[in-house]
């Protein structure tokens, strides 16, 4: 009798934990819905096991140490990013399903920036369990680019922001110039 109570408790705890983790994980749109017409596609899906594997190969150097600390509390990172060669190459309504998921439950919008000139719409959402943040979602859409980011786990936003420009990847300064303007090469 006692054994069955213990087993039931464990199953319930596992189910609760799984539901908590899945609540922060968004159902992102199918690749085919957004990748048609895209000239550049990034699809990254890293679950907790892969995160652990990656962390085990991070050294204690300055940059790696910073990332290692950041990912140690994460349970998953899911990113889909699409770049298009012309305006209106994707159906904006595809993103509505993601917006619906973010408009309910424990998600709260941290900030939203909408530019009518650029036609861009960026929103950042935080998943909270009480006061404890447990996930992050970024939804960024412009006429030629769509980016969806879903990070599951506790994340330090300032630490995440500070990563740009490291690891040999340049600071892209996306909003420094209109998207349509081609970057001029430096003399």
């Amino acid at each position: 009798m006692r054994q069955s109570i213990v087993i039931c408790g464990m199953v319930a705890a596992l189910a609760f934990g799984a539901s908590q983790a899945s609540a922060q994980q968004l159902q992102l749109p199918e690749m085919a819905q957004l990748s048609a017409g895209a000239i550049d596609v990034v699809d990254v899906s890293v679950d907790q096991a892969l995160l652990g594997l990656a962390a085990s190969f991070m050294s204690n150097g300055t940059d790696d140490k910073e990332v290692k600390a950041l990912v140690s509390s994460l349970k998953g990172i899911y990113v889909k990013s699409f770049t298009y060669g012309k305006d209106g190459a994707y159906d904006p309504s595809v993103l509505d399903s993601v917006r619906r998921q973010l408009s309910g439950g424990q998600w709260s919008r941290l900030l939203a920036a909408k530019s009518s000139a650029e036609g861009s719409d960026t929103a950042i959402y935080l998943w909270r369990n009480g006061d404890k943040p447990g996930g992050l979602a970024v939804l960024s859409a412009s006429p030629r680019e769509v980016t969806l980011v879903n990070i599951v786990g506790t994340i330090d936003l300032e630490q995440l922001r500070s990563l740009q420009g490291k690891f040999g990847v340049p600071d892209l300064k996306m909003d420094a110039a209109p998207k349509t303007a081609a970057p001029k090469p430096k003399p």
């Binding site: 990034v42 990254v44 899906s45 890293v46 892969l50 995160l51 594997l53 990656a54 085990s56 190969f57 991070m58 990332v67 950041l70 990912v71 990172i77 899911y78 990113v79 990013s81 509505d96 917006r99 973010l102 408009s103 309910g104 998600w107 709260s108 919008r109 941290l110 900030l111 939203a112 920036a113 909408k114 530019s115 009518s116 000139a117 650029e118 719409d121 960026t122 929103a123 950042i124 959402y125 992050l136 970024v138 960024s140 980016t147 980011v149 990070i151 936003l157 995440l160 922001r161 500070s162 990563l163 740009q164 690891f167 990847v169 600071d171 892209l172 996306m174 909003d175």
Partner: protein, 120 residues
């Protein structure tokens, strides 16, 4: 005797004494150091077989180790790429908030107000 004759006599071939060749061979045999065996014959055959068997048995483990290392490095690259994109988007949104321009409509939402109102 003229110098030519003296030179011819001095350089005239002389037969070695009897038994000279045998004595030389005996002395060489006595004094020559023992010839080392070729190195390849010094390795016992069982050791060579053991080395080959070990290499064959260990190769799957080595391959697995190589594969897991490759997977880990690929995962690390994916994590870094994902974090870069997330960081870029955060910074992009942050710049829009801290440097508002006339054409940008900003709607920072406080923590208590969730995004349940729909599209931002």
């Amino acid at each position: 005797m003229n110098p030519d004759a003296r030179l011819r006599n001095a350089l005239a071939p002389v037969d070695p004494p009897d038994g000279f060749a045998q004595r030389v061979r005996a002395r060489v045999a006595r004094e020559a150091p023992a010839m080392p065996m070729p190195a390849r014959r010094r390795v016992p055959r069982w050791m060579a077989v053991a080395a080959i068997v070990t290499a064959v048995l260990a190769s799957p483990f080595a391959w697995r180790e190589y594969e897991s290392r490759r997977e880990a490095l690929a995962a690390k690259a994916q994590v870094l790429l994902a974090l870069q994109i997330a960081s870029r988007e955060l910074n992009s949104a942050h710049r829009k908030v801290v440097r508002p321009i006339a054409t940008t409509t900003l709607a920072p939402v406080d923590a208590g107000n969730s995004g349940k109102e729909g599209r931002p």
